[in-house]
Assembly symmetry: D3
Homo-oligomer: 251 residues x 6
């Protein structure tokens, strides 16, 4: 099986499912939905460690790679996600070279980093357990300004953009598609830097249409809407439509 | 607040959300989605008692009534669901008067039934805890043949149709809308019997359009698609659309 | 350590804690509270199997014996509680000799009963695992009428009275202390039958004062208030007292 | 992939892992250990529904088939295990033709049985979800006497022997290898009946050596030691050996 | 509904329940007990993230505001509690202006702070999700000395005193009511500073009487005894009283 | 009962069980296996807080002391483990005096340290709750070079060696027994420093034979193989042996 890293290196664009519901069943559904990778979001998702572990197992029911977004740049948290068998981590709010180096340090064994040895589940389920994907989030103005420095840190596999946080940090209107020109320019700037540093560019897109848009400027790691929003929308729509059909005046 | 029983008695049609995902969060979303009631399905849903309890609590975050579909007609299971605060139970595969009487017996305190006293959570959260909704499923040919006898059993609030099981039991092609005339006739027959016996008629509909159809023949308790299917469909569609947009040939 | 069975045989009166909160921590507190035994109530308590198991472990942190009240007289449920290490079971709503025999059958290995062999945890934690306490509940008029027959069934260790269900089944006013003379007479009748058949008599008492009262007519297994009620009362009282003290008019 | 049913039909002998520890991780280890199938034992194992579900998911991380031993012959319990994606069920203590027919009825959709339609997880993970393995346990003298009748019930895939219960029911000394000749004769008798009725014969063996022995008289479904015992033994042995080596007198 | 912030601004005194038992049921009881707010204590309470989430849902079954005490001043932990729908956080051991600023930073979106955008549950259940209560604990001598500086940090809603830690840090005898004059003076000093800086003053009180005492010197956020202690005391007392009544010598 | 600290001071060597499986049942088995102490490993074990708590309770079913290895040197995490009743903590990757001081600070109440007061479970189950064992890991070249300084920090009870991380950090071949002379010298160096500073020396050994070897150079805290590995090995071996016996060519 071709690894996600290899597919990205070969220039392939990939789409990802985003799990925020704390459930092994919804994680398994995500892994069987046709996406190329699945994120267990333990930052904004409603998921702690004990549930995350079982969700990673549920994703392993298919061959689809799993990634964990950790809540914050903490070595213990990153290492626990990797030992549990995540194929990689996404670390939010990286705003300096030192922070990026800390991420790589937590993901890699010596001499490259300082990850502690004990890949309890990872070694059993993933032949590539020594080289998980190390993905940093660039999502503030401050980080965009030094994005070249950040992406120069050796060992980073991908940079992932949080468009909402990026817009908020700049005082701009947020939208997945970057309706605000300043917002859009920053997102394009990150992709350029990624290309230059041979790092994969990723971004939260929401819809397929936005994914296509960012793909066209070089993003290969395209996250679609989170499960909470997909389910909430579908459930609300079905109720609303039914209510309308059942209302006295309806034909 | 007008109770569900009163709304049905007043002739109102209602739509219900159907929870099969074992998660408090998806249950809370269902309760906030605009449906009139929420079912925690512990028969075909992936939900056991310990998770069901917390899902009932999640539904109580709104004023929307909760119902539990139990796995089978067992007094201990029915009483546990009611003690946990369910607003009522839906009991599958009722095929005889004796079975229907057993359902009522498990739902009602003496002298009507034989429910044991100990409404630990129910008493705290539901002022109407002595009179939960008692709903029997009619979903076999055998049951349809004696539906008048079944619905004559005192204490039944509603009859709920499982169209798939009904079709399968008759060797007919299954469809929510009853494309097969024999299937459809049985479903209409149940509504007629319900009307005669002053019992609310309910049915699993899937789509709003089917809900409208069954509403028009007298069904007032209209269940829409289960959360598993809503989420699976939404997730698969978004991945498929994205893949199509990203494929080399796409414009 | 003297077993509970031996203490009862020696004429000792014992008091029990009653767990209805689904939590290992409250179970451990109950086991450390000075009661002689602890019940994990999976009938009216908000507790399913997966939580019950860990509560039994929490009770084993002390030497206090654990009992499980099962939801209903089902062999699979009784055996699972015993395999999980419960020191005995309390089985509700026993209304016939056949039902009592079924309870004993599920609690005892052949040739006495039909319990299946596989005491996974019981064998590890309880040297007396082959002889768990087998306790039937007599809590209907119908059962009181044949209480001598029920308690003649070989293998029953104790009979336990649910005063609420008993009163309700007789159409009498319920009270733990049996304010209604008819209620009281039935409770005394059960104790007499228990004495005659060398079976321990037990009852849900609520308060220590009521425990003393029933002790005086021969009850040795005296259950005090459930944890839900103790905590609810304590929490409500403290809030109410504080509100009163803080109200503008208070001194 | 060749299904387990096909391998048995082709005369192949298979060995199974037996999960009694309530944990997704030990279930995943079992699925990766080289056994041909994995049982989640919800009878004597310390496993309720909510944990069983996640253990079935953990087993699906490999292609190894999963089986659930249910606590008792109850239709609701059997159907829930199958809807959760178990590849089959093992139902204990089948002592009559009627009981065997009830097992088949719960495992098969009409017109063969009365299984209710709603294979929530099964349909998603198992293309063969309409035909799960239906396995009855013969483990009493009474059942052995009518084993030909039991195995004549259409729809049974395998008969599984519980040697301990069988010995106990006959008042004989128990041993996996059937040291008692009467015990052994009953086990051989079951295999003969299975062969005649084209039903696979299975048995709990404990050790590989006993598996080999029963294989030689026709058993193809050979269960090895449960995880609880394997872990307990390994942990105790390592402590004991260390204590010996560290004791003052040791060289 | 008037928010807690508004009630405090209007000068109202409020009492709070304190949850340390890891259980959705005890959390729901706390929310229904008549207290004005409920704390889920994930510092000294036996509660991790996955349980905290469901407890927050249980509290939402009423309109009573929830607060989470986090284990330590960590941005990821604070943000996870807020995204899960807590109405605010209480952050322990704030000993410097920089630490206080870090708390505010984690609670507020840019440009005020650096909270990351993704209020998965908060947005669904709380219309005021952008402005959760930000509460710092002053509980060391060192912090009291610079309490004016700490409470000058913009964005702090309340200061909460841990009287035990405060006494211990000063080498003084601890008591909720401040029997030691030095202890008491520090507690009064904090209230004065709070008043000056228009920050609400809060404190752990234990009993209603102590709450009244601190209310009288300006405290408006008055926490009463934790559930563990309330339940432990009630359970021990009932057992002790029963034992006394049942002892041979008792009348 | 003699405490672990006292046994170490008396020169006794002890062996420990190592829990990485997230399960109360395997924790209870470890506590009953004959080891002198049990570690709940929340660093490389698959265990988060909510499961850790119940595992600590399961260990308390015996008198065997429990230790928690925390994921990283974080005060909140250390204090939560201690409040939950752990008899001590093992803190990984201590590479400086400041880090060692932070560990002691988190483990001790003022004036020695800065642990916050609130030993919710610890106080109930452990009379020695004010003095938990404080154990630092020395497992890098950098730490070995300053091991004398690290172990001079007052309040450290033991130093624990992670031989794998130590070897990896030095670019040496790893083995529990220190086949590489450089690896072995570092391990011996740590024991010498421990002896000098009156600190107990501990090490992960895997097998009893390696435990004996390190015992002979002064190690008293000897951890044997983790449960995951013990179970995995036992399960794989039994399957492999059975397959060999059952293969056509086998006698």
């Amino acid at each position: 099986m071709t690894s996600l890293r290899e597919r990205w290196r070969a220039g392939e664009s990939t789409v990802g499912a985003w799990c925020t519901i704390p459930s092994t069943w919804t994680a398994e559904l995500a892994a069987r939905s046709g996406h190329d990778w699945v994120v267990v979001d333990t930052q904004h998702g409603l998921i702690g460690y004990d549930v995350m572990l079982t969700m990673l197992q549920a994703i392993t029911t298919t061959g689809v790679p799993s990634l964990v977004r950790v809540p914050w740049n903490e070595p213990g948290t990153i290492m626990k996600a990797l030992d549990a068998g995540a194929g990689g981590v996404i670390v939010p709010m990286i705003n300096s070279v030192a922070e990026a180096e800390a991420v790589v340090g937590a993901c890699r064994y010596p001499p490259v980093g300082f990850r502690s040895m004990g890949p309890t589940r990872a070694r059993v389920v993933d032949s590539d357990w020594r080289q998980p994907l190390c993905i940093v989030m660039v999502e503030t103005v401050q980080a965009v300004e030094i994005v070249d420095d950040i992406l120069s840190v050796a060992g980073i596999d991908a940079v992932f953009v949080g468009p909402n946080d990026l817009a908020v940090s700049a005082g701009l209107e947020s939208s997945y598609e970057g309706r605000d020109p300043g917002h859009r320019r920053m997102i394009e700037r990150i992709a350029e830097s990624a290309r230059e540093h041979h790092v994969t560019a990723g971004i939260m897109c929401g819809t397929p249409e936005v994914a296509k848009q960012w793909h066209d400027v070089g993003y290969q790691m395209l996250a679609l809407d989170a499960d909470t929003r997909l389910l909430m929308t579908a459930t609300e729509q079905i109720a609303e439509r039914a209510k309308k059909l059942l209302s006295p005046g309806a034909t």
